[in-house]
Every structure is written in C-alpha cells, then in structure tokens.
C-alpha cells in the first residue's frame, strides 16, 4: 500500500471496500464456468484480490455471466440480478453473451445480454484465459475509482427499456405474468 492508496482510502472508504471485496455470485451460467475453479484455486488464487464466490445473490456484488445464456437461464439471471444489493457489477464472460458467439443461430440462446440486464464490462474470447479475468477485475477497479461502473444506476433509470426487452422474450416470468405487477417501473 503506497501513500496514494492510503489517501484514496481516507477520502472514500466505501470505494475501497467496493473495490477490494468483489464477491462473485456462485452461478454457473454457461461453459465459461470451467475456467472459474482454476481462477479461484491454487494456481491463480483470486482471493488475494478479494474475489470470492458467495452462496446467495444477496451476499454477492459481482455477477460473472460465464458463457452463453439460454432462455431458461435468462429468467434465473434476471431473478438473481434483481436480488443483488446495490452497488452491483456485471461482467460478461466469453463471446456468447456479447453477440451470441457461435450460437448465433440457436433458437434457445439470447444474443445480446445487455439488452436484458446492464453489463459493466466484457471479456471477449472463447474460452478467455484466467488472466483475462484478472484483467477484467483490475479494469473494474479502475471503473469503480472513476465512478464509471454504473450499470445498477442505468438499470434503475432505464428500467422500462430493460423490462420491455425482458418481457418480449420471457412473457411467462412471474415478474410479468400478473398485470398489476407489470405496471411497476
């Protein structure tokens, strides 16, 4: 810890906390999850950066969307994302959530994840290497420092946009099924 870092901590302890304690929600959304165990375990050890897997969405503040998102998973992702506390950060992992990747013509995977939930950063590639996850984490630190990781604020401000897109593909979700609930936002 150098002097600049200590100055930052004194100026904004909350940012210090948000940055160095990124707890990831334990949700294996796609095949990208195969590179998460090596990242968490002895070779790469993400815990030295404060990144830990957490059991429930209420405890986590980072959501790694690891790989393609099928229609059924999208419902679970939206439900999980809604349960997380602010501030929360979403990182899309792999090329599939960016534009569908190699499943661009699959009938059961969504193509652009940021139409449904706000995404703060992407890691391209299939598979991205574990180092790429660390680069993403350090980028996320920089974004938190510069107040650029504002996905959760975007979600609140543009909730109607996100809700419309979500309802288009998932009209059966309990969130949308009852008309009195659909009026919220």
């Amino acid at each position: 810890m150098d002097r600049e870092e200590i100055g930052k901590i004194i100026k904004s302890p909350s940012k210090w906390g948000q940055k160095y304690s990124l707890w990831a929600v334990y949700f294996c959304t796609g095949c990208g999850i195969i590179e998460i165990p090596p990242v968490l375990t002895s070779r790469w050890d993400a815990e030295r950066f404060g990144v830990m897997p957490m059991a429930t969405p209420r405890q986590g503040n980072m959501f790694l969307i690891t790989g393609y998102v099928s229609m059924k998973t999208l419902g679970a992702i939206i439900r999980t994302y809604d349960q997380m506390l602010d501030p929360k950060y979403v990182v899309g992992f792999g090329s599939c959530p960016i534009n569908g990747g190699m499943y661009w013509d699959s009938y059961n995977t969504i193509k652009e994840l940021d139409k449904y939930i706000p995404v703060d950063g992407w890691i391209a590639g299939c598979m991205p290497r574990p180092e790429a996850i660390f680069i993403a984490v350090t980028k996320l630190w920089m974004m938190i420092d510069n107040d650029a990781a504002t996905g959760y604020k975007r979600y609140k401000e543009n909730y109607q946009y996100y809700e419309r897109n979500q309802r288009e593909v998932l009209p059966h979700l309990p969130k949308f099924a009852k008309p009195e609930h659909a009026q919220i936002g």
Binding site: G75, G100, D105, H172
Partner: protein, 159 residues
C-alpha cells in the same frame, strides 16, 4: 457368426421385418410400427439388456419420423439398431417404459423436440424448453435461422 443368427431369428419371428448386418458388431433391424414393442421384449430376452438411446430422425420427403432404438448386448458385444417408422401427420408410438425403464427420459425429449406422442408414458412434460411456442424445434420444417431473425431481431448478425 452371431450377427447372422440374430438376423435370421428376427426375420423369422417378425412379419415384414428386415435385418441387415452392417459390419462387425452392428445390426440394423427395420420393423413395422406395430411389432416394435414385441421386438424390444424379444431383444431384451436375448441378452440385449442395455438401451443406449432412442433417437428420432425426421424424413421430410417421405413424410415420416424414424424412431431408432439403440440396444447393446454386454455378453455378445453387438449393437442393434431397431428402426421403425411412424407417419408425420399422426406421430404416435407405443411407449417402451415397460421394457426399459429409462426410456421415459428419451421419449420425453423426443416428444418435446419432434412432437411424437408416446402412449403409456405418464411424464411427457417439457424438459428443456420453457414456454415454447411454435413447432417442435428439431423438425426439419422448423428453420432456426428464421426463428432467430424473428425472435431476437438479429438481421445484421446473420451470415
């Protein structure tokens, strides 16, 4: 050769069936729809006690679905493919759960992906797809690229 014996036994026992030895350890049996359950019982009694899979092929030109039961005999080391065709317009087959218990899952998938009904299967509920509208996706006349264009609005992504 054991494969030849099975071929003869099948052709003698089931009316309108043909058996073909494809190569060593592979035998293909073609049956009419009605004799399929009997053939499964016959094969199981003759040592084919492992049902590897049930697959379905959509032959659009012939207007038929082809169900293929993949059976394996651990003792003889022979893989038998038992084929039967059902019309596309009324896709109904008889469930093979009484013979092989875990056929339930395979039939459930074929019901979802091809729209084939299995009489006697109590659990033909959706398995993979949630709230799926439209034709069963594995049918040949369902075009996934068209569907993607309509459902996700991805014209510029299509190559």
């Amino acid at each position: 050769m054991r494969e030849q014996d099975i071929k003869q036994m099948v052709e003698a026992n089931f009316q309108g069936s043909t058996a073909r030895v494809q190569k060593k350890g592979r035998i293909i049996v073609t049956l009419v729809k009605e004799s399929a359950p009997g053939a499964l019982i016959f094969f199981k009694a003759n040592g084919f006690d492992h049902l590897s899979a049930i697959s379905c092929t959509d032959w659009l030109k012939e207007d038929e679905f082809e169900l293929v039961y993949h059976l394996w005999s651990y003792t003889e080391r022979i893989h038998a493919m038992i084929k039967t065709r059902i019309p596309r317009s009324s896709p109904v087959a008889i469930s093979s759960i009484p013979v092989f218990e875990h056929a339930q899952t395979y039939e459930r998938e074929i019901h979802e992906m091809f729209g084939v009904n299995f009489e006697g299967n109590p659990r033909l509920i959706p398995m993979f797809l949630e709230n799926w509208q439209g034709p069963p996706p594995m049918r040949k006349d369902f075009n996934t690229r068209e569907h993607v264009k309509n459902a996700f609005g991805m014209e510029d992504n299509l190559r």
